[in-house]
Structures are given as structure tokens and as C-alpha cells.
């Protein structure tokens, strides 16, 4: 008997969505995402769902995926491209369109 729903269904049922809006493939984004993922891991997140903008996987998606996989070795990750298919209670939306990346939604899920 499997113990929990998430255990039964993973990797398909992740803990949290991180949705990136816009495109900005630079080192500042990378550092920003690293801070966010570190914060989520400190809060106990082990299964991340990351949504990158359409057509961005090869640039920021790869950068992010590589970063996640290599820096946070105990993490399970799913990276999707395009729009988030359905709303989720726990999600963080990050804008990469402005002059500097910023959290638009879900900041309360992160450390101070």
C-alpha cells in the first residue's frame, strides 16, 4: 500500500509550480532563480514544477533545468513550456520582463 497520494502519483503531482513570465536569459535571472529554489528547498519542497515561456526551453529553460538538477541534487523537477494548464493553490509567478526579475505572485511561499 502506498503511503501518500503524492508518493503514489509522483512525478506527476508536484509540490509547487514556479511559473516564469516573459523571457530574459541572463545571469541575473539565474541567480534570482537559485535564490528562489534555495528558499523553496529550505521550506521542504522536493518536487518542483517549472513553467517557462513558449519557445524558451532551449535558452532559459535549459539554464534553469541544468541549474536545478545540478545545484540541488535531491530535487525532482518537471519543466513545461508554454502556459500553466491549470491553476494551483501553491504557485509562484516570476516576471522576467521588467528591468530585474521579480516575484509577482506567491511571495509568501518563500523565505523572507
Amino acid at each position: 500500500m502506498k503511503s501518500t497520494v503524492s508518493e503514489q502519483e509522483f512525478p506527476w503531482e508536484t509540490d509547487i509550480d514556479v511559473v516564469m513570465v516573459g523571457c530574459r536569459c541572463d545571469e541575473e535571472t539565474k541567480r534570482f532563480m537559485e535564490k528562489i529554489v534555495s528558499s523553496l528547498i529550505r521550506k521542504g519542497v522536493r518536487r518542483l514544477h517549472v513553467v517557462v515561456p513558449e519557445g524558451c526551453f532551449e535558452s532559459c529553460g535549459v539554464k534553469l533545468a541544468g541549474l536545478l538538477a545540478q545545484e540541488f541534487l535531491n530535487l525532482s523537477v518537471i519543466v513545461d513550456e508554454g502556459k500553466l494548464q491549470r491553476g494551483r493553490e501553491k504557485r509562484i509567478v516570476i516576471s522576467l520582463e521588467e528591468q530585474r526579475p521579480q516575484v509577482l505572485e506567491g511571495g509568501e511561499l518563500l523565505d523572507e
Binding site: 526551453f57 541534487l73 523537477v77 518537471i78 519543466v79
Partner: protein, 539 residues
């Protein structure tokens, strides 16, 4: 099962081969042809495997067999198809699943050969030619076809993302793939959009009851006995995975699958076979004896895939276990395994692999290596060992200590291969090789290792590995190659090695500047596709 699979599981020829039943010959796929014509090298390294009328190989890589079993158990019409036969099915298939252990030649020893010769290794060339064929089939015959890539080297795709687009890859899967494969297959059948990338973290690795039994034979009878490793070396990702011992009943079922396919010899696979059933790093004699007796019941001959030298030593010192296991294994032409020396420096050993020497202290690592090699030589067991060169924090003194250790290992029958540490970030650039800084001490080490390995390789080929009359053609070709290598090694100096590497780097840079680095294999790829289509048309 219908005649045409919905999901084709496959890989290029460098993996879909049994290397003439000699697993170690598989290492030749990691190099470009050296001293022999391309065709002969390729014939030795990656001969085609027998297939049935559907194009299903009689033996296939073990990892692909696990994915096949997981998908079939979940009710999918999925089968492993030989790469020469996939064109028969791509038009109607829904997906192609591909698994590989070194997609682009970035893993050692492929990257070493590439660095030293300036030529792309055979496995990379074969894979790229194969992907060209798959992508062309998707584009021209079945645009809805999903392409999923996974396996131990799937991380490499993130370093060459342009190939994701070029080969129209839909999803990259990292980590243990059994559950992810089923998840993706369900999405494909429902016509849903696939994720671009999945990492199955160590915490989500399949439990024992989620690991399926293979349904058809594995290459060279390989059977997994354990997943994970408790030693926590800093350079190894396997060590992060939970430790799972495959139960004997499951191992027996897989042995039976292979025997039914006519395979009567094989490899038992684990990161450290001698830790099967162990608590910590002290071997469990009862579990190991039962395991070996079980394997011997089905296989006439077999070897271990990997074992740690410290485990070898403690197994014999505390339990006379190497002696006892050799008695069970009995007389056979060859018995060997892969192992890691990595360094001869106690300081570096303590830094990067503090538990590799356990239960002995890390400071004693060079003595452990020497004692284990002596023991193995006496027992006629042949280790194929790796060294890691150029690690961050390595000093010239560390390399000198490794040279001294290799010189002390000279009397012991073995093969030793140096592997250059390539920083991951460097792989994103086409001039990744510039990040590999080969010092004079490294060149001296390479020379000592080269002479050691060529000397013992001749003995191993002629007196052990290929000593039977039926191996005469292979033996002849390999002796010819080794004879040339030996003459070359005698005259070689460290300065020559440094010069070769510099020339090789210059050659690769020239080719990058001229836009040629990728061209030769595309030319070969096109030729291969044309020849396959020609054969298909003719038949």
C-alpha cells in the same frame, strides 16, 4: 502484441550490439578509429546484433529492457527495435524512446580520446547519424511522433540544446526512468502535451517493488543486483540514490530470461558487487555466496561489472571471500571487473572520496590499491581501473603520487585508463576542450598508464579474453593494433603527449572556425541514411 509497436524503444548501433559477446570491446566505441581502417574498427567495436523477423534484437541494453518491461507491464504496446529496423515502424508509431550512456561523447573515456586525437569518437558519430535518421523520419513521415530521450547521459542534452531543436526531441528524462516512462506514455496516448524535461530525483527513485523484471535478453547477459552505493564519493551521482538490493528471486527470473534466449554467460551489475546484501561497507558473505551460487546455476561463465578495491581487500582479509567466490565461479577464460583508483594521493583521496577506502582509513588509499591489485593478480582476476585527472584542487604533488602508485602496480595484470575532469560549464561551449588543462605531470602520468595498459592488454587478449580458436580473427586485429600501440608507446615522451594534445586542440579549433567540426559526421550520417534507404528499396 500487435505487429507494429506504438512505442519504439531503441538506440544507435554503438549501444545496440553485444560487441561479439565481449563487453570490454565496447570501450572501442568510445574512441575514433586508431591505427585501423574505420570499417574494421566499427566491425570490431559495434557489430550488428541478431534480430527476429520484426527487427527485435535478440539482446538489448539492460536499461532499455527495464523501460520495455515497465511499459509492457503498464499495458502499452512497446518494444525494443533494432536501429536498422525502426524505419519499418516510425510511420505508425506514436513515440520513440531512446536511452544511452554517452549520447555526445562527453563522458570519459570518450572525451579523453576526443581530446588526444582531435577526432570525434565512434559512439558520438554513430549516435548523431542515427538521430539524423530519426529526425528525418519524424519530419517526413510522422510529424506527430514523440521523441523521448533518457538514460544515464541524458544530462548531456542540456549542454547542447541546439540538438533538442534539430532532432525534434520532445522530452528529456534524467534519473531512474521506469516510472517516468509510464507517465510519459500515458500522456502520449492521451494526446497531451509533454513536459520538456523531467528529473526524477533520488528521493523519487522506484522502490524495489516498482522495478520490473526484464522480459527479453539483455546485452551479454547483464543482470542488475543492486542500485545505489553507500560510499558518497563527491564526483559520483549514483551515490545519491537510495541503496536497494535486488532480491534473489528477481535476479533468478532475469537469469532465466537470458538463459531462455540462449545466453549462458553474463555480468552481474552493481556499483560494488561485493556489497550485495551488506550493511555498510563490510561484505555479507552469506548473501554473496548465495548470489554467486545462483548465478552459477544459470551461467557457465560470468563476471562482476564493478567492485571497490577496499571491498575486495576487506572481503578477503576478514572472510577469505574472494577465494571462496572464485571457487564458486570456477575456471573460466577471463574474470574481471571495473574499478576506480581515481588518485594515488592520500590527501586528494581524503578530500574527494573519503569513504572509498572504508573500512580502512582514507590516508591508506594507495596501500589499499596496491594490496588489492596484488591479491587480484594472484587470483587471476583482472581489474580495469580508472583515474580521475585534473580535479579542482589537485596539485602537481598529487599527480606525482599517482604516477608513483601506477609504477608500483606494474607487476599486476590490469588495465588502467586516465579520465580528465571536464568542468560541466565548459561543455556548453563547442571549445570545451580548452578548459582541460593538461600539465607536464599529467603527460607523465598518461605515459606511465599507456605503457602499463598496452603491456598488459597484450597478455589479457592472448592468454585470457580472446584465447579461443574462434576468436582468432578478432585476436589478430587487436594484436595488430596493440603491436603498433606498443611500438608507439616505447618512443613516446611526455613532451610528445603535450604536443599531441596541443595539436589536437588546434585542430579542433580550426575545424570550429571553419564550421567543419560538425560537418564530417553529417556527411557520414547522410551517407548512412542513404545506404539504409537503398537497402530498404533493394529488399
Amino acid at each position: 502484441m500487435s505487429s507494429s509497436p506504438d512505442i519504439i524503444i531503441t538506440v544507435d548501433r554503438s549501444m545496440m550490439t553485444n560487441h561479439h559477446g565481449k563487453e570490454f570491446i565496447g570501450f572501442m566505441t568510445t574512441a575514433p578509429p586508431v591505427g585501423l581502417p574505420d570499417r574494421i574498427w566499427t566491425w570490431i567495436a559495434e557489430p550488428p546484433i541478431k534480430t527476429d523477423e520484426k527487427g527485435r534484437p535478440t539482446e538489448a541494453p539492460y536499461g532499455l529492457r527495464k523501460i520495455e518491461a515497465a511499459l509492457q507491464n503498464a499495458g502499452f504496446n512497446a518494444e525494443i527495435i533494432d536501429p536498422d529496423h525502426i524505419m519499418r515502424y516510425v510511420e505508425t508509431a506514436k513515440a520513440v524512446f531512446i536511452g544511452h550512456h554517452d549520447y555526445f561523447g562527453f563522458c570519459p573515456p570518450s572525451s579523453e580520446w576526443w581530446l588526444v586525437t582531435g577526432e570525434e569518437p565512434i559512439n558520438r558519430r554513430t549516435f548523431l547519424a542515427f538521430m539524423k535518421q530519426v529526425a528525418r523520419a519524424k519530419k517526413e513521415l510522422n510529424p506527430e511522433l514523440k521523441i523521448v530521450v533518457g538514460g544515464p547521459s541524458s544530462w548531456q542534452w542540456l549542454y547542447v540544446p541546439e540538438y533538442l531543436r534539430e532532432f525534434m526531441v520532445d522530452t528529456v528524462v534524467e534519473g531512474e526512468g521506469e516510472k517516468a516512462a509510464v507517465y510519459l506514455a500515458e500522456k502520449i496516448m492521451r494526446g497531451e502535451t509533454l513536459p520538456k524535461y523531467i528529473v526524477v530525483g533520488p528521493g523519487d527513485s522506484p522502490r524495489l517493488d516498482e522495478i520490473p523484471v526484464i522480459k527479453a535478453a539483455s546485452v551479454n547477459g547483464l543482470v542488475e543486483v543492486m542500485r545505489g552505493c553507500p560510499r558518497r564519493c563527491k564526483f559520483c551521482s549514483v551515490t545519491l540514490r537510495p541503496l536497494r538490493f535486488i532480491p534473489l528471486e528477481m535476479i533468478e527470473k532475469e537469469l532465466q530470461v537470458n538463459v531462455r534466449a540462449g545466453i549462458n554467460g553474463g555480468i552481474i551489475h552493481s556499483e560494488d558487487v561485493l556489497l550485495y546484501g551488506a550493511k555498510g561497507v563490510i561484505p555479507n558473505p552469506d548473501a554473496l555466496i548465495k548470489l554467486h551460487m545462483l548465478v552459477k546455476k544459470y551461467y557457465k561463465t560470468f563476471t562482476w561489472s564493478h567492485a571497490a578495491l577496499s571491498t575486495v581487500l576487506v572481503a578477503e582479509e576478514q572472510f577469505k571471500l574472494i577465494t571462496r567466490l572464485k571457487e564458486i565461479i570456477g575456471e573460466q577464460d577471463y574474470f574481471g571487473f571495473q574499478t576506480g583508483i581515481e588518485t594515488g594521493s592520500p590527501r586528494l583521496a581524503k578530500e574527494i572520496m573519503p569513504a572509498k577506502a572504508a573500512p580502512y582509513p582514507a590516508e591508506k588509499w594507495p596501500e589499499i590499491v596496491e594490496e588489492a591489485f596484488k591479491l587480484l593478480h594472484d587470483k587471476r582476476i583482472i581489474p580495469a581501473a580508472t583515474l580521475i585527472v585534473g580535479l579542482p584542487g589537485e596539485t602537481p604533488d598529487d599527480v606525482v603520487k599517482t604516477i608513483e602508485l601506477i609504477e608500483r602496480l606494474k607487476p599486476y595484470r590490469s588495465l588502467i585508463v586516465p579520465m580528465f575532469f571536464v568542468p560541466m560549464g565548459a561543455l556548453r561551449k563547442s571549445d570545451w576542450f580548452k578548459a582541460v588543462n593538461v600539465t607536464r605531470e599529467h603527460a607523465e602520468l598518461m605515459l606511465v598508464v599507456f605503457r602499463h595498459s598496452v603491456y598488459w592488454a597484450k597478455d589479457i587478449v592472448n592468454s585470457f579474453y580472446l584465447k579461443k580458436a574462434r576468436h582468432a580473427p578478432l585476436r589478430f586485429l587487436l594484436n595488430r593494433f596493440l603491436g603498433r600501440a606498443e611500438s608507439f608507446a616505447e618512443k613516446l615522451t611526455p613532451d610528445d603527449i603535450l604536443m599531441y594534445i596541443e595539436r589536437s586542440k588546434e585542430k579542433m579549433m580550426r575545424r570550429i572556425k571553419q564550421g567543419e567540426l560538425r560537418q564530417p559526421f553529417y556527411k557520414r550520417a547522410t551517407e548512412l541514411v542513404e545506404s539504409i534507404l537503398h537497402i530498404k528499396r533493394a529488399s
